[in-house]
């Protein structure tokens, strides 16, 4: 833990405290994020219990291939992010830059697939609202499912977009050779955020795509 500390700022007692404060700050933020998404998870769980059959029927309209594909893409982006953090500890700016570019590309692939899926839902009239059309079932269950689908994946996508903007900033900085063996904490903090976004998707995937597929 001694390898990764920048110049000591005056309001910290020592480098170790400074480093741990950065880490701890991001973990605090992620804690609020857990409960932010947690509210949606709880709402989802309640309505899934109430309208289970509707949720099963509606979930079958999601494309399992693209869902699984996107999960793999996001896991791969987490791998490249972890490798970027690793390169950060070695102070290798070129490797940081390249791994972050890979992360950015994979994140963009994920968002592209998501766009394609949204478009598909649009054409199938599965956007909740006036033109929502779901002939297999009466009642509002399927509409509720798709409200959760768009809210959860949408909020997740917003997090990805924010993460990508941050990635671009760090790619530029790594390109300019800003990081060293002594100083790569920002890359590490970026990594925590990116892995958390991956983490949310790990739960969204079974919630939305895998409700019940054996028929």
């Amino acid at each position: 833990m001694s390898t990764n500390q920048g110049p000591l700022l005056s309001h910290f007692a020592n480098l170790k405290q400074q480093y741990e404060t950065s880490q701890f700050g991001m973990w605090s933020f992620l804690l609020t994020e857990v409960l932010f998404f947690g509210g949606l998870f709880t709402g989802y769980a309640v309505y899934r219990t109430m309208y289970y059959h509707a949720f099963v029927a509606a979930s079958l309209h999601l494309d399992i291939f693209w869902g699984t594909f996107n999960t793999a893409v996001l896991i791969a982006s987490s791998l490249t992010m972890a490798l970027a953090v690793h390169a950060g500890h070695a102070g290798n700016n070129k490797a940081i830059r390249n791994y972050l570019i890979w992360t950015l590309v994979l994140g963009t692939v994920f968002l592209g697939v998501k766009c394609y899926e949204y478009m598909h839902k649009w054409h199938e009239n599965l956007i909740p609202g006036e033109h929502f059309h779901f002939p297999e079932l009466v009642g509002h269950g399927p509409e509720l499912f798709f409200s959760f689908y768009f809210m959860m994946t949408g909020l997740h996508a917003v997090h990805m977009i924010i993460g990508e903007v941050a990635l671009i900033i760090f790619i530029v900085r790594a390109h300019r050779g800003r990081y060293s063996v002594q100083y790569s904490t920002p890359i590490e903090i970026m990594g925590l955020y990116w892995h958390f976004v991956d983490l949310v998707w790990i739960f969204l995937f079974p919630f939305l795509y895998l409700v019940e597929r054996h028929h």
Partner: protein
């Protein structure tokens, strides 16, 4: 930190991909009530792998670990108390539920409400005359 090697990350990556394959495959099999628990257990294993290795929680201070555990703890409270309420509302659970709330009864009540008539007369006045 420097204890980790890229090889560790590739191993975790492979494990995560395999678990994704397993959870997708399991969704197509019928385990009765256990389908959802299986999916959640696999997701939790994946989450622990990400947090423990990719997010380096295994190298973090105890304070950070307590914080990370706190997220799970508060989420558990939210879920537990919410379901302690919803799952014990007998009036919402019919004996053989397709859904908890009888949709047709809700719609009927809605149609009979004055607000609904007002709404339709505005939206489609031709049907009334």
């Amino acid at each position: 930190m420097s204890k980790d090697t890229p090889k560790d990350y590739y191993v975790i990556f492979a494990a995560l991909l395999i678990l994704t394959g397993i959870t997708t495959g399991a969704a197509f099999m019928d385990f009765g009530y256990f389908n959802f628990p299986i999916a959640m257990i696999i997701a939790t294993i994946k989450a622990v792998l990400v947090v423990w290795f990719f997010m380096h929680l295994r190298h973090m201070s105890k304070l950070s670990r307590i914080f990370a555990a706190g997220g799970v703890f508060w989420l558990a409270i939210m879920l537990a108390f919410t379901f302690a309420d919803y799952l014990t509302r007998e009036t919402l659970i019919p004996p053989k539920p397709v859904t908890w709330i009888d949709q047709s009864a809700v719609r009927q009540a809605y149609r009979e409400s004055p607000r609904f008539e007002h709404h339709t007369s505005e939206a489609a006045p031709a049907e009334h005359h």
